[in-house]
């Protein structure tokens, strides 16, 4: 990871990562747009919580945006993802609209789950997003099931399962990787290793040094990349999604990253030092991506500023939409328990 980190910090055209050959300026502008949108969405969500507008809890992925966007760059609406309790980034990267996400946050009828799910269950089946999940590891076997559907229905779809380092010690993770490998299913397992399962470090919780080394136990490729480096994530996930589409079976990708915010609202940061947090803040994936886009001639500083300004406006409008949206009616409580 340190080598990759050093590379991303000394950007020169001569060390341009090869994955950029597969992406044009428009695609990269959209990737930056999504990374910024995730960041601003979560900052605004945090703000709405502080102002007492939203309810419950939330898990912010600030600092992890390059993973969600780097992976989803290769997915279309007919591909699926399953996500985690820290899932805002995955939703936005997969195509969810921030106005309906804010509406869900504020518990409104116009939200993605009509206010029934909140931050932890945002889903958008129309764009292939099978949902964030409140259970650690809960989405992993569901992703394998979606991949089984894709294989049976011959849709050509690939499924990405996002999960955290905490999930790599759940039985669901191990059972799912095994089943996906035995049945050779088109699924990519993406572990966002942000160093902590709530408060317990991977060092204290996980017997192996890298989650990626779990992969050979399930006869699939495993790769560990710098999760704060868009190009590194994009490169690994391009190969994995292509392999899955070719019928080559599953891959495990570990993206080493960091959440600069706490686990949730209750976190008092007793398990990590301010120095550690500052070190990672200096490795913020968004400015690093912008430096590369500029250095490799994809976007000028002026264009980058335009993207930033556009995101700020988008967030403003989305919040206004959410705030103006109706709340659910208590009379509808039982409406969606059953289909019939």
């Amino acid at each position: 990871m340190s080598a990759a980190a050093a590379k991303s910090e000394t950007v020169q055209p001569s060390n341009r990562p090869p994955i950029y050959e597969r992406l044009n300026a428009a695609q990269l502008r959209e990737a930056l747009h999504k990374m910024l949108l995730i960041r601003r969405f979560e900052e605004a969500a945090e703000d709405s919580y502080v102002r007492g507008q939203s309810y419950g809890t939330m898990h912010l992925s600030i600092g992890q945006e390059a993973v969600a966007v780097g992976v989803c760059t290769w997915l279309s609406d007919s591909d699926y993802i399953t996500s985690t309790h820290r899932g805002h980034g995955h939703c936005i990267a997969k195509g969810a609209k921030v106005d309906r996400m804010f509406a869900e946050f504020l518990g409104r009828e116009t939200g993605y789950c009509r206010g029934r799910g909140g931050s932890m269950h945002i889903a958008d089946p129309a764009t292939g997003n099978l949902g964030a999940n409140g259970i650690v590891g809960g989405g992993i076997p569901i992703a394998v099931g979606a991949a089984l559907s894709a294989k049976k229905l011959k849709t050509g779809a690939v499924v990405v399962s996002f999960f955290g380092d905490g999930a790599n010690n759940e039985g669901a993770f191990h059972e799912s990787l095994n089943i996906a490998a035995v049945w050779k299913l088109p699924v990519v397992f993406v572990c966002e290793n942000n160093g902590y399962g709530m408060s317990v470090s991977t060092k204290r919780s996980t017997a192996v040094d890298s989650v990626a080394v779990r992969a050979p136990a399930y006869a699939m490729p495993g790769v560990s990349v710098d999760g704060n480096h868009f190009a590194a994530v994009a490169e690994a996930s391009f190969e994995a999604t292509e392999r899955a589409r070719r019928g080559g079976g599953p891959t495990l990708i570990e993206c080493v990253t960091y959440r600069t915010r706490g686990h949730s609202r209750s976190d008092r940061n007793r398990y990590r030092t301010p120095e550690e947090i500052e070190t990672w803040k200096a490795r913020d994936p968004i400015p690093a991506f912008e430096r590369e886009l500029e250095a490799f001639g994809f976007l000028s500083r002026v264009e980058i500023e335009k993207v930033r300004a556009g995101v700020d406006e988008e967030i403003k409008q989305a919040l206004a939409f959410a705030e103006a949206s109706p709340v659910p009616s208590a009379a509808d409580l039982l409406r969606d328990v059953y289909t019939v």
Binding site: P125, L130, I135, P141, G145, K152, N178
Partner: protein, 332 residues
């Protein structure tokens, strides 16, 4: 034209429903442990793998949680999986996916998805398989909004309810009592559905209402025959569905007989009969009661191995006769 009616066993009736569902709908497939060439631990899937192939009758690794989750994911994305848990006891390994995911996804996602999944579970005691292969956990699942829970008693209902369950857009848990697998009954050939929310009066009577599902319904009918010889006419109601519970049929019967006995194999405390008793106490039938409500449930113990102990742990026909007799004679 009425369909040809044959005598089939409960297991054959289920197998026939699975075959029809797979013939009719390409999306239907079976998953489970040893359901392929082995034919299932209770020979329910039998030779289906030879007829439909390994892609539609899929042996899974011994991974109940993973298997359940794969079934949920497949159901969410256009397939209609029927997942067999080899013993209902093994549902304990899969509870996360059944309770947190299958049951809640539709609601949690604001109605934007459905989970058309059937989970079949051989259940109950009486086979000498002891504490970890003999439980009756129906009440656990009936406690979860978002699930539908059925427990057919007859081969006719087993086929018709399973066909209805596979066609249903929501997750259905089907309990199949192991002692019923070999029991025979008339089953029409071809397609028919039995609704997933209606109880059935199996025997009419004026003196006492006995509510019992699965193998307990068979025992209640045997008990009713004995009671009739003594002049006690028991009405036997088979709930068939435990969630939703068709209380209207039970209320109507209790208003007629004024006496209620609930019989169930699950542990008595907080079991299905506890719910039925409470619902009757809250209903218009309460004012009609001439005696306290009685429950005969499983003992407050794990299911033991030794036959004499195993029999003592769950209601048997003589227990039902004795309890109904006491109720009918005002001895409670």
């Amino acid at each position: 034209m009425s369909a040809i009616v044959r005598e089939l066993s409960y297991a054959q009736a289920i197998q026939e429903a699975l075959a029809i569902a797979m013939e009719d709908d390409e999306r239907v497939f079976l998953m489970g442990e040893d359901i392929g060439v082995y034919g299932g631990a209770f020979q329910v899937t039998g030779d289906l793998v030879h007829r439909f192939g390994e892609d539609r009758v899929m042996d899974t690794p011994i991974s109940e949680l993973g298997g359940a989750g794969v079934a949920v994911g497949a159901a969410l994305t256009g397939m209609r999986p029927v997942f067999e848990l080899q013993f209902s006891d093994f549902s304990t390994l899969a509870m996360e996916q059944i309770v947190n995911q299958a049951a809640k996804l539709r609601f949690m996602l604001g109605g934007s998805v459905s989970v058309p999944l059937v989970i079949r579970m051989p259940t109950g005691s009486g086979t000498g398989a002891a504490a970890q292969h003999s439980q009756s956990l129906e009440a656990w699942f009936a406690h979860i909004p978002g699930l539908k829970v059925i427990e057919p008693t007859t081969p006719y209902d087993a086929k018709g309810m399973l066909l209805a369950a596979i066609a249903d857009p929501d997750p259905v848990i089907m309990f199949e009592h192991k002692l019923l697998y070999k029991s025979k009954g008339p089953v029409p050939a071809g397609r028919y559905a039995v609704s997933l929310d209606k109880a059935q009066v199996r025997r009419e009577g004026r003196d006492v209402t006995i509510v019992a599902s699965g193998i307990m319904c068979s025992r209640a009918l045997d008990a009713a025959a004995t009671l009739a010889e003594e002049g006690v006419e028991a009405e036997v109601i088979d709930p068939r569905s435990l969630r939703p519970l068709d209380m209207a049929t039970i209320v109507q019967s209790v208003k007629k007989t004024s006496r209620l006995l609930c019989v169930y194999e699950g542990v008595k405390t907080l079991g299905i009969g506890a719910e039925i008793s409470a619902a009757i106490a809250e209903s218009e039938a309460f004012a009609y009661l001439d005696a306290p409500i009685l429950r005969l449930g499983g003992a407050e113990s794990p299911i033991p191995y030794s036959p004499i102990l195993e029999k003592a742990a769950v209601p048997q026909t003589p227990d039902i006769v004795a309890a109904a007799r006491r109720l009918a004679r005002g001895q409670v």
